[in-house]
């Protein structure tokens, strides 16, 4: 981690510790927009880590952004911070200005295509994007659309599309947006892959899962030392110790896989590392949530306890921007096509 990464990490951790309270998450889950939190993030320079300083960002790399995204996952911050970071980067890649306020990205599914049509100096958008995070709340949506054979990065303002509101298991907005000739605020040829939203979306979800898994381990290890049964802390029982050791392994694996993907993104070819991270973190999410709940017993199954803020997010995040199965197939096909002799050179590629 570089100097900027450390600075961002310290800043974001302090901010989340102060502002992301149980009450705040609960109110967000009832539909309130946590405006104070968002403004603090913007004022702290945490929403646009990859945007050049000249354009109001932090001028950092993905490796720096990783610390912010991981922290957002760990603290289950109920805002589209990770989505805004990817959106800002996509706009920057296309040479477009980045508006203030929360941003989101679409389409989130590989099989959904949005079409860009030029009109005069601007253009319009056509097509449907389902289950867009904060699709109706975010000030703008950044979309990678098709303009014939070339991908285009298009920016549309809130309200440009028809909205059908929905939500995730974590009660975060996941809205369907139907664009029927919606005017774009700005658009430019994308210098990224046509599926960049799904690819970078999978990358942020992997890091958010790694963060939430860290929180599960901390909460579970603490609970195991506090909760007493049969006259001693349950953490004294070997069965509990071994399950928590197993959880620690999943936390470590998800963490390094996610960080590796961000570093690969800085090198310009993150596809295989992102696929591996999404698969590994997703597996860890399912198994890790299971262990954390088992250790917490019945109290962890209540809304009153805070464990579910992380576990419900893990259950929804692992299925977003491509499931483990889908990314495993992407990775497996790439490995098979390159052949057995290339596996080890690929694994050790710098």
């Amino acid at each position: 981690m570089g100097e900027l990464g450390r600075l961002l990490s310290d800043t974001v951790t302090r901010l989340f510790n102060n502002l992301v309270t149980k009450e705040l998450i609960e109110s967000a889950e009832k539909g309130a927009w946590p405006d104070k939190l968002w403004r603090a993030l913007e004022e702290g320079g945490l929403t646009l880590p990859l945007v050049p300083e000249a354009h109001g960002g932090a001028g950092g790399a993905w490796a720096d952004a990783h610390t912010v995204v991981r922290a957002a996952g760990k603290h289950t911050a109920p805002v589209p911070l990770a989505e805004t970071i990817v959106a800002g980067w996509l706009l920057g890649q296309a040479g477009l200005d980045v508006p203030m306020g929360p941003l989101t990205i679409a389409p989130v599914h590989r099989d959904e295509r949005l079409r860009f049509a030029r009109a005069g100096g601007g253009g319009t958008l056509h097509g449907t994007a389902t289950r867009v995070p904060w699709g109706a709340t975010a000030g703008h949506v950044v979309i990678v659309a098709e303009d014939g054979a070339t991908p285009v990065v298009a920016l549309v303002a809130r309200g440009a599309g028809r909205v059908t509101a929905d939500r995730s298991l974590a009660l975060e907005p996941r809205d369907t947006l139907v664009f029927d000739g919606a005017p774009v605020v700005a658009a430019a040829p994308a210098r990224v892959a046509p599926d960049a939203v799904v690819l970078y979306g999978a990358m942020i979800r992997a890091a958010q899962m790694a963060g939430a898994l860290e929180s599960l381990l901390e909460q579970s290890a603490r609970y195991a030392t506090e909760r007493k049964q049969f006259g001693k802390p349950i953490g004294n029982f070997q069965a509990i110790q071994h399950n928590l050791a197993l959880l620690a392994g999943h936390v470590a694996a998800a963490g390094i896989a996610a960080e590796h993907a961000f570093v690969a993104a800085d090198r310009g070819e993150p596809r295989l590392a992102v696929a591996a991270a999404k698969v590994r973190a997703g597996e860890a999410a399912g198994l890790g949530a299971g262990i954390a709940h088992q250790v917490h017993g019945a109290i962890g199954f209540t809304y009153e306890h805070s464990l579910h803020f992380a576990t419900r997010r893990l259950w929804s995040w692992r299925a977003e921007f491509g499931s483990e199965s889908q990314w495993a197939q992407v990775l497996g096909r790439a490995i098979a096509a390159r052949g057995a002799n290339q596996l080890w050179p690929d694994l050790t590629m710098r």
């Binding site: 981690m1 860290e214 381990l217 901390e218 290890a221 603490r222 195991a224 030392t225 953490g235 004294n236 070997q238 509990i240 110790q241 071994h242 928590l244 050791a245 197993l246 620690a248 392994g249 999943h250 936390v251 470590a252 694996a253 963490g255 390094i256 896989a257 960080e259 590796h260 570093v263 295989l272 590392a273 696929a275 591996a276 991270a277 698969v279 590994r280 597996e283 483990e324 199965s325 990314w327 495993a328 197939q329 992407v330 990775l331 497996g332 096909r333 490995i335 098979a336 096509a337 052949g339 057995a340 596996l343 080890w344 694994l347 050790t348 710098r350």
Partner: protein
């Protein structure tokens, strides 16, 4: 509470340059040997291969030059190890000596011991076994009972060691004996010794493993004499030394690469355009491999930085051996093939080999249960 931190590591350019050199050497040394032979990896005992490696200066790479080493970095050694393992090189004749015995002597041995043993290990001429476990002492290592009693400028040893890999084809063992019985303090009174396995009073008997192979032995000591100058470290310092030694054993890439030959055979078998099910299986295996390599490399980086990553090494070994054991399972679930010994293709034979070796992966060098205990302690639970 301490959460383990696995920092992502990059290898320095000289380590990557060295990798190319190692690959060229291995291509020539191993030729086109079949996957099932490569699967044996460091289980393969080939003194000629070890001497060739020694001639290149690649055994004891990090050791001081005056003991036959090259004074290169731990990260270069890491690259060498992972290349040997990925290629399935038969590294067994020098593996223990290079990984454990040599470093132990460097740390705790006398100058005379270092001068006598390290250059020969570095040349690939000296194989070592490890005498720790006993019939009644496995995970509870401190309960060992083999006695070494002082007499005439040395010690007289009586007792039995088991699971002593390669004792029948190694010249020496480093063994842990009880030199004093301290009531209620089983960790005290233990000492380590360099044992010449050809000494009178030592009987080596094979223990055949479930696959019919002779790797293990029972080593019986009946009034065997070990000279005083063959004790490693102080009398009674054995426990401290042995726990250090076990840490060397837990952190390497051998703790996640044991089944890589089967992954390679599977890729060959399913071809360049696999069906979705096979593609998914390959993808999941690759995701684990990529992740474990980063974890293992991270521990190597901590060792290079002079840190003490015992907990992280235990995590890598637990996650790594779980992965190694999953590979035969996953192949079995995907394919309609029988594991074989003598017939069938690469995939069938490699599956046949590894499905029978897999149980040992989470036993050797500290059982899964011992490792999880270490991790739980790191989490503040013990």
């Amino acid at each position: 509470m301490s959460v383990f931190h696995f920092e992502l590591r990059d290898l320095p350019p000289e380590a990557e340059a060295f990798r190319d050199e190692v690959r060229v050497f291995l291509r020539e040394a191993l030729g086109t040997r079949p996957t099932v032979r490569r699967a044996r990896s460091w289980g393969g005992f080939d003194p000629e291969f070890s001497r060739k490696l020694g001639a290149r200066g690649w055994i004891g790479l990090t050791w001081p030059k005056k003991y036959g080493g090259q004074e290169r970095s731990f990260l270069e050694r890491y690259v060498l190890l992972e290349e040997l393992l990925a290629a399935g090189a038969p590294a067994g004749a020098h593996w223990v000596a290079e990984r454990q015995s040599g470093p132990l002597l460097l740390r705790f041995g006398t100058e005379a011991q270092r001068e006598r043993f390290l250059p020969a290990i570095a040349r690939g001429e000296l194989s070592f076994a490890i005498g720790m476990s006993e019939p009644d002492s496995g995970s509870d290592l401190a309960s060992i009972r083999t006695r070494a009693v002082r007499k005439d400028g040395g010690y007289v040893v009586n007792g039995t060691k088991v699971w002593t890999s390669n004792a029948h084809r190694s010249q020496y063992a480093i063994a842990l004996f009880r030199t004093a019985v301290v009531p209620d303090k089983k960790h005290e009174g233990l000492s380590q010794f360099l044992v010449d396995l050809k000494s009178p009073g030592i009987t080596i008997r094979p223990i055949i493993n479930l696959a019919g192979s002779h790797d293990f032995n029972e080593v019986v000591f009946q009034d065997a004499f070990v000279p005083e100058d063959m004790r490693v470290g102080g009398d009674g310092d054995g426990w401290k030394q042995v726990t250090t030694e076990l840490a060397f054993e837990r952190s390497g890439p051998e703790r996640y690469l044991s089944s890589i030959a089967l992954v390679l055979a599977l890729i060959e078998h399913v071809g360049a355009d696999p069906d979705p099910r096979a593609a998914e299986v390959l993808g999941r295996l690759t995701a684990q491999l990529m992740t474990l390599r980063q974890m293992s490399l991270s521990v190597a980086g901590m060792l290079q930085a002079g840190q003490n990553p015992n907990l992280e090494a235990a995590v890598v070994k637990d996650v790594g051996t779980t992965f190694e054991q999953s590979v035969p399972e996953v192949v079995h679930a995907l394919m309609d093939i029988e594991p074989t010994i003598d017939t069938g293709g690469d995939l069938q034979q490699t599956l046949g080999y590894l499905v029978q070796r897999a149980p040992s992966f989470s036993l050797r060098g500290g059982t899964r249960e011992v490792l999880r205990g270490i991790i739980a302690r790191g989490l503040g639970l013990r």
